[in-house]
Symmetry: C2
C-alpha cells in the first residue's frame, strides 16, 4: 500500500491533526475537499482553487463515466492532466448517484443497472467496473462501490444492504490493481443501527485498506442523531488510518465531525449556494440578492482576506447576481470555498494549540448557531 500514508500528528480530545501523503502531494488534515463533479470545480479555474488553499478535490465517477467517458480521460493522461489539477484527487465510486436514481435503476448482487441522465441509455456500474473507471481516471484515492442507505430505512433494508456493501468492498479490493499509485478506501454503512455499524466496521477494517469512510450519514436525519451515530462510528475505526465523513459541508457538521475524530470532508454546498447568491461569512450566511446590499460597499465578510473580499463590494456582487453575470458565481464560489478551506486551517491550528473546543464555541457564537 505504497500509494498513501497517514501520519497522526496531534490530538486535542478526539479531534485529530494529521497529514495524508499521496503520489500527487500532501494533505493537511482535517481537510475540506471542494467538489469538482464533471472534471471542474464549477465556475472556477483550477489555479483559483489551489490558491485559496485547497489541497485535494473530488471528482465524480458517475458523471465522468457517462461524460466524457473514462477511456477518454485515460487517453488524455488521466483526470489530473485532463482538468489541469496537479494536486491530489479523490473520486467517489458512483454508488451514491446510481442508487439515487430510484425507479431508473435495478440492483443485483452484480451491481446496479441504470439509465444515463444524458440520453437515457442503459449502463451498469458495480464494484469491478467502478474501480476500473476510477483507475482510468487515475485518482489518488478511490472509494469503494457501496450503497448509501436512505433515511429513514428499517433494519430489514439496512442489514442486507450493508452486508452487500461489504461483499462489494472485497470485490473492489480484488479489482484494485494499481496499488502503488492509487489508494482504495472502504466505506462503513449500517444506517442508524449501532450493531450494524459495528459489524460493518469490523468487516471492512479486516480488509486492511489505506483509509475508511463513514457513509450513510447526513442523509436527512436530525443533526442530533447524526452526531450520536457518529460518536460510536468513529470509535470502530483504526487510529492509524484517515477517516472520511462523506458529503458533509455545513460549517457545524464540519466542527461536529472534527470533534469526533473525522479527518476528511466534502460537499457541493459552498459552490451550489454560491450560484444561488448565498455567501458564507464568519457572521453566518448572507443572501446577496437582498435589497439592503444595493448600496453596501463593504466586502462580503469584513474579516475575510480572500481575493473576493479584498477586491469587491456587496453592492457590486449584488449587481452581478441581479444581472445574471457568470462572474457572480465565479466570485461567490471562490469566497465560499475559501471560507470553508480557511475555517479548516483555523481548526487545524486550534488542534495544534489544544484549543479546538474553544474555537468551535467562538465560531458557533459568531456564525449564529448558538442562537438557533
Amino acid at each position: 500500500m505504497g500509494s498513501l500514508s497517514f501520519k497522526l500528528i496531534k490530538k486535542d480530545g478526539k479531534a485529530r491533526r494529521g497529514e495524508i501523503t499521496t503520489k500527487h502531494g500532501t494533505i493537511q488534515t482535517p481537510v475540506f475537499m471542494p467538489v469538482g463533479t464533471a472534471a471542474t470545480v464549477k465556475a472556477m479555474k483550477p489555479e483559483a482553487v489551489a490558491n485559496l488553499g485547497a489541497e485535494i478535490i473530488l471528482g465524480n465517477t458517475y458523471h465522468l463515466f457517462l461524460r466524457p467517458g473514462s477511456k477518454i480521460v485515460k487517453q488524455a493522461g488521466g483526470l489530473h492532466k485532463f482538468m489541469n489539477w496537479s494536486r491530489p484527487i479523490l473520486t467517489d465510486s458512483g454508488g451514491f448517484q446510481v442508487f439515487s436514481l430510484g425507479d431508473l435503476r435495478k440492483i443485483t448482487e452484480e451491481g446496479v443497472q441504470f439509465a444515463s441522465f444524458i440520453d437515457g441509455s442503459r449502463h451498469m456500474l458495480g464494484p469491478e467496473s467502478s474501480i476500473e473507471v476510477q483507475q482510468d481516471l487515475g485518482s489518488d484515492i478511490m472509494m469503494a462501490f457501496d450503497e448509501c442507505a436512505p433515511y429513514p430505512a428499517d433494519r430489514e433494508y439496512v442489514k442486507p444492504s450493508m452486508e452487500r456493501t461489504t461483499r462489494w468492498l472485497a470485490r473492489c479490493k480484488d479489482a484494485w490493481t494499481n496499488r502503488e499509485e492509487q489508494a482504495l478506501f472502504g466505506i462503513m454503512q449500517g444506517g442508524m443501527y449501532q450493531d450494524l455499524r459495528e459489524k460493518s466496521a469490523r468487516d471492512i477494517v479486516d480488509m486492511d485498506l489505506p483509509g475508511y469512510a463513514i457513509g450513510g450519514l447526513s442523509v436527512g436525519e436530525p443533526k442530533e442523531l447524526m452526531c450520536s451515530v457518529l460518536d460510536y462510528c468513529v470509535d470502530y475505526l483504526p487510529e492509524n488510518k484517515p477517516r472520511y465523513l462523506m458529503g458533509v459541508g455545513t460549517p457545524d457538521y464540519l466542527f461536529e465531525g472534527v470533534a469526533r475524530g473525522v479527518d476528511m470532508f466534502d460537499c457541493v454546498l459552498p459552490t451550489r449556494i454560491a450560484r444561488h447568491g448565498v455567501a458564507m461569512t464568519s457572521h453566518g450566511n448572507l443572501n446577496i440578492k437582498n435589497a439592503k446590499f444595493e448600496r453596501d460597499f463593504e466586502p462580503l465578510d469584513p474579516e475575510c482576506n480572500c481575493y473576493v473580499c479584498r477586491n469587491y463590494s456587496r453592492a457590486y456582487l449584488r449587481h452581478l447576481f441581479k444581472s445574471g453575470e457568470m462572474l457572480s458565481s465565479m466570485l461567490l464560489s471562490e469566497h465560499n470555498l475559501h471560507f470553508l478551506v480557511s475555517t479548516m486551517a483555523n481548526i487545524r491550528r486550534s488542534i495544534e494549540e489544544d484549543r479546538f473546543e474553544q474555537y468551535k464555541e467562538d465560531f458557533y457564537r459568531k456564525y449564529g448557531y448558538l442562537e438557533k
Copy 2:
C-alpha cells in the same frame, strides 16, 4: 483637454502606430478593446483580462444606467473601483442601445424616451443625461450621444439624423465638465453617403475634441461597401487625434480598419461566440461542439501561447461545453480575447517594421479568408 493625449509614433501606408495616454494609463494603438457591458467582461476576472494584454475595456452606459444605476457606481468610487479594473475604460453613450429599441423608444430633439429592458419603466437619455451618467461612471473616454442610422437607410432619413447627432454633440460638449479627468470623443455619422460623411466630419472636427469615432458602419452593409465608405471617412479626420471604428471585431474588419488608418476597435463578438462554443484560432474559427474533437488532445490553437492553450485540450473544452460548465465560457472567452488582443500586438509590430500589408496577407491566408 488634459484628460487624454495621442502620440502618432509611426505610419506604414495608412496604418498607424500610436499611443493614447489617459489618467488610468497608456494604450498602445491600434488597439482592440474587450467589452464589459454590465461592469464585467463576461465570464472573466479583471486580472485575466489584464493578463492577456488588454489595456482598455468598454462599459455600456445604457446597461449601467438601468442597473445598478450610475449614482450607485459613483458612490462606489466610480466604475474602475466598482468593477476592480484599474486600467482605462471607454464608455459608450447609450445611444446605440436606445435607438435599437424600435417601437419601445421615441426620439425628440431633446433625446430618446425608452422602456427599460428590466422592468419596462420609462426613462430618457439625451446628450446631457448621457454625459452626466458617463461622468458618474468616471470613464477615461466618454462617447457622444448619437444616432447610429440603420442600414439600409435612405438619404431623407440619414441627413436629418446626422445633423441632429451634430447638434447633440455640441450639447454633449457643453455638458462635459470633468475635462481634466475624462475625455469626450465625437462620432461621425452620415450613412453610406460621402457628402454627408464629409459634412458630419467637418462639423465635429470643428469642435476640437480629444478623439473621433466613425459610427454607423458594420451595421449590416456588405464588407466591400464598409471598406469603401471607410476609405474616405478616415481621410476627413485629423491626423493628430485617435480614430475609433465602433463595434467592429471580426479579424478581417480589424485588419481593414487598421489598413485605412483606424486606431481603436471594440466588439462583443469574441466573448459572445465563446459562450456558444466557438474559438478563434490562427487557422480560422473552431466549433468546439464538433464531435471530431471528442478525443482531440491538442490545444485550441497549437500556435497560441495563451493560458488556455498551454493548459487545456480541445477534448476537455468540448467536454466542458457539452456538460454546460461555466468554465467552458470562461476559458473560451479568455482564449478569444487573447487571440484578438495578441493579433493586434502583432499588427502593431508589423507597422513598426513596415510590413503590415505582408502580415495582413499572411494572416488572411492562414485564417482562410482568401479561400472565400
